[in-house]
Subunit: 152 residues, 2 copies
């Protein structure tokens, strides 16, 4: 099954959070699950904050990458195709808000789920939840904006 | 010169963003600069998003750790001492909001500056800016909350 990030061309696949060409990165992979999207990630031992808990910056990173990848997928679906049909729909993060609702235990696989809040011509708003062992630990809002020419 | 993070006891110094005992982490160090606080960090080549630019998750991580460390420093100053005098003033991230204002170039040292917005008994609100080569690239709000007993 092809992840959203597998559609990114090679020159855009270096991202520390989700780039398949970044050996040191998290290599997050996001998929459809009906009308929402899902990704799974098991933090490494070094992704610690306090002993026993996941570092908030890693949580923010996962929400960021799952949100932006999902934004491209939501926008492609709206155009009536998959991401291969809409290579111009590349997004970057304009705004990232994360609420840490409960300490996230370090050890279990984390699940990220995203749903579309709003789709505008140059912007996609996505809500992302992060759970560990069935408990909601963090919620995020990602405002993804179309890749500006200055970054392309 | 002692960084805020140098006051964290060894058992709280594993954080991936700022723990001196985390060899794989960013090891961010924050200091006073008059009434505000400052930290510097040079991203590694793997901290990439698009070619030439810094990954947003690393930017969020730096804002997070500089904000939380600064929260402890601001709270200690309010108590009339340095962080050694107030070991109970340990904080974790309750909320992290980041606005990405301009693409952050990968290469130059980044500068983080934080100022106190509000200090409450169990919460400190901090505003953090991130600049590269003198240009403001991101702004963040960190709501730091006193370390809950469940994490201690």
């Amino acid at each position: 099954m092809k992840a959203f990030q597998d559609y990114y061309p090679d020159e855009y696949a270096h991202c520390y959070g989700c780039g398949r060409n970044n050996a040191q990165g998290h290599q997050l992979r996001s998929y459809w699950d009906g009308d929402v999207t899902v990704a799974h990630f098991t933090p490494k031992p070094e992704h610690i904050s306090m002993p026993g808990f996941v570092y908030g910056g890693v949580i923010a990173s996962l929400i960021d990458c799952h949100g932006v990848g999902s934004a491209a997928a939501f926008a492609s679906r709206e155009q009536g195709g998959d991401m291969d049909d809409n290579p111009e729909l590349r997004y970057v993060t304009g705004k990232l808000d994360v609420d840490f609702l409960a300490p996230t235990p370090l050890g279990p696989e984390l699940e990220l789920r995203a749903r579309l809040l709003e789709l505008a011509p140059k912007r996609v708003n996505v809500e992302v939840s992060l759970s560990a062992a069935g408990q909601l630990c963090a919620k995020g809002l990602v405002i993804a904006v179309r890749l500006p020419p200055s970054m392309a």
